[in-house]
Amino acid sequence: MRIALFITCYNDTLFPETGIAVVRVLERLGHTIVFPDAQTCCGQMHYNTGYQAEALPLVRRFVEIFRDHEVVCVPSSSCVAMMREHYAKIAAAAGDAKLQADVEALLPRVYEFTELLVHRLGVEDVGATYPHRVTYHASCHSLRSLHVGDIPLRLLSKVRDISLIPLPSLEQCCGFGGTFAIKNADVSGAMLEEKIKCIQHTNAEVCTACDNSCLMHLQGAMHRQRLEVGTAHIAQILASEHISSPQSSSKRKGKIG
């Protein structure tokens, strides 16, 4: 299958390793990845911060670029949530019937990465090996907007040699929340602190999630506190085939191979 990858602006800029891992997993499963080169951002940050007028051209742009693709893969549940929860409304508010029709036709073909694997491609075992203690953090958007349920855990449980440790208070927000992390930095930090205590409680080497946004926030604080816990997007675990040392936030230098 030809799968169009929408990498998202922040993964493109900050987490190329996640995109590389997505490509790797999907190609290993025999699919072809296309990367529509004009893509940039889904408009989530603008929309959620109150700059709804500014988000509209970004929505148009996304729809324009991905309209004709059979399947779109997005390794970020918050961006998919942005599309599913707001695109139709944004198009309607703009009074643009064509955009509305395009949104309606496109959205059913847009999948978050783990959804794509399990719901569209019907695979749970992607042939990965990852001999580490891992705990899974359910991002709020994957949990409450996309309702991915146990899909990510099903995928992880099929990984060879992995040791999965349940995270206490799984359903509680980590405190990222986009611009919330900056506008309400102290409250966000307090929420983060509680989440990190839960992660430490699991004694995991790596915390994973479907969203690098949460992970960047967790990783940033764990690095500040010099904790020996790494973070990795779920795609990176599912791409892993070889025995490697896990990413440890204090050791990582942000190198991309």
């Binding site: 990498i7 990367f35 951002c41 109150g50 709020c140 958007h141 204090s250 991309i256």
Partner: protein
């Protein structure tokens, strides 16, 4: 008097700061919300039809607001026919004036049932100014009143206090230095104190959970029985209710009285469910008034994207579920309405002139929407109100506002892949002076400094995904992985 007076206070991040340092308060809030949530979870899980109850609740509220004018008039007509008096109050000042006037024959005292609406309009202050002493009879409200405190939760106003703190307060205020701190000791002290007031106060003031248009009746649910006392013993009863509290039919209680107690206190049913209609000679209050309060509610109705705010049945479940409220407690919201519902209701009640920081006091995690018994999509309303906050800024301010400039700049960048690539390259150079020996960014200037207050930032990698994808050939055999 300005309505929701407290919200002329500091913005949310500022008000939250001292609370975040109050270890005792935070542990009280965490404990209390965990307990209530646990109870709620148990009694909600046992209901196979919970989701359809929520949908019915939502539809009932939606329908009522659509025909609010006729239901209010129907309520007025039926209530009057049953012997009650209905008063219409445009705002807080008008409502307070009406109540004070009717409480004139109160011999200087009025007993009160917990009511957030009376908190909203600052009724106690107005009564005191008129020489009438309001006596709170709900245990939590009594704690707030005796401690000269402010409510921090709409259902459990003293949620931020623990048992020992309450003991201290009672021991001091009631002159009982040897009071124990078991729940029995505390409730007994309150009971003895309040009995006196129930027996000797001729006027009671209440809020309402529901006004029933069909019958002209009023419904209040409570746990302590203090409400029942206030509703039956005094000669005069004055009920103050927002116009949003009306429901069409008696029958609607079937659903709402399942949704409310389970969501609010995690009980299948409240211990006391009081319903009364007008006056009955020789039985209960002989004079009954209802004050219907607008106080900007019709303004909220005008905004189709935000009007569902008025669906709220004040169960407080969203507060208990909110991870932000969990950290700060209710006082950070500087309003009687704290938590997610407060974040959407307070600024609207202030016509968006105050409380503009509240719609941003949320990580949009959606936990509130998930528990709301009438399915108010709070995150959606929050985002809509953020838009109103941004658009309400005068043009010249927007031109100078750093955030607005940044947002427009980012939009300009995102509207072209060339510009995005250029920005990424510039970022890699610009970050160099900020990278510490650890290889990470530990401090950032300006707005971004919020990030580095508690977190480091991994620098931009030397290659973006796009660049990797463009260059790769043949297909990579190894995932870069450290």
């Amino acid at each position: 008097m300005t309505p929701v007076k407290e919200c002329a206070a500091p913005d949310f991040p500022t008000a939250a700061l001292p609370l975040l340092h109050d270890i005792q308060l935070r542990s009280n809030v965490r404990h209390a919300t965990d307990v209530i949530q646990g109870k709620r979870f148990r009694v909600v899980s046992e209901m196979p039809d919970w989701q359809s109850l929520r949908e019915t609740g939502q539809r009932t509220r939606e329908h009522t607001l659509q025909y609010l004018d006729s239901y209010l008039e129907q309520f007025e007509e039926r209530c009057t026919a049953a012997g009650g008096h209905v008063h219409w109050a445009r705002d807080a000042a008008e409502a307070n004036r009406i109540v004070v006037q009717m409480a004139q024959n109160a011999m200087g005292r009025a007993i009160k049932i917990k009511s957030m609406t009376t908190e909203e309009i600052g009724l106690n202050r107005a009564l005191e100014a008129a020489g009438i002493q309001p006596i709170e009879t709900d245990l939590a409200e009594l704690i707030i009143q005796l401690g000269h405190d402010k409510p921090s939760h709409i259902v459990v106003p003293a949620l931020h206090k623990n048992r020992q703190q309450i003991r201290e307060l009672f021991a001091y205020a009631m002159g009982q230095p040897h009071l124990g701190d078991r729940p029995e000791d505390l409730t007994e002290a309150a009971r003895l104190y309040l009995r006196q007031q129930f027996m000797h106060t001729p006027v009671a003031i209440s809020g309402a959970n529901f006004l029933i248009a069909e019958t002209g009746g009023v419904c209040i649910v409570e746990s302590e029985g203090n409400g029942r006392m206030c509703l039956t013993l005094p000669r005069t009863l004055i009920t103050i209710a927002g116009i949003d509290k009306v429901i069409p039919n008696f029958r609607d209680l079937e659903v709402l009285l399942q949704l409310l107690p389970r969501s609010a206190t995690g009980e299948r049913m409240n211990p006391y469910n009081s319903l009364w209609t007008g006056v009955h000679p020789g039985d209960g209050p002989q004079e009954f008034h209802v004050v219907l309060l607008d106080n900007r509610r019709t303004e909220i109705l005008r905004d189709p994207e935000a009007r569902e705010t008025l669906h709220c049945i004040r169960c407080g479940a969203c507060q208990n579920a909110c991870p932000v409220y969990r950290q700060t407690g209710g006082h950070a919201y500087s309003s009687v309405y704290a938590g997610p519902i407060g974040a959407i209701l307070t600024p609207q009640l202030a016509l968006m002139k105050e409380g503009q920081s509240l719609p941003y006091a949320s990580s949009l995690c959606g936990a509130c929407y998930e528990v709301c018994p009438v399915k108010i999509n709070i995150p959606e309303v929050l985002i809509h109100l953020r838009g109103r906050v941004v658009n309400a800024r005068p043009k010249y301010l927007r031109a100078l506002d750093l955030e607005a400039i940044a947002m427009r700049g980012m939009q300009w960048v995102f509207l072209s892949k060339m510009r995005l690539q250029l920005a990424q390259r510039l970022g890699r150079v610009a970050q160099i002076p900020w990278i510490r020996r650890s290889g990470w960014i530990e401090r950032l200037p300006g707005m971004l400094g919020g990030w580095t207050r508690t977190r480091d930032l991994r620098p931009l990698p030397p290659q973006s995904f796009r660049e990797w994808f463009q260059k790769r050939s043949p297909l990579p055999t190894e995932v870069p992985h450290e």
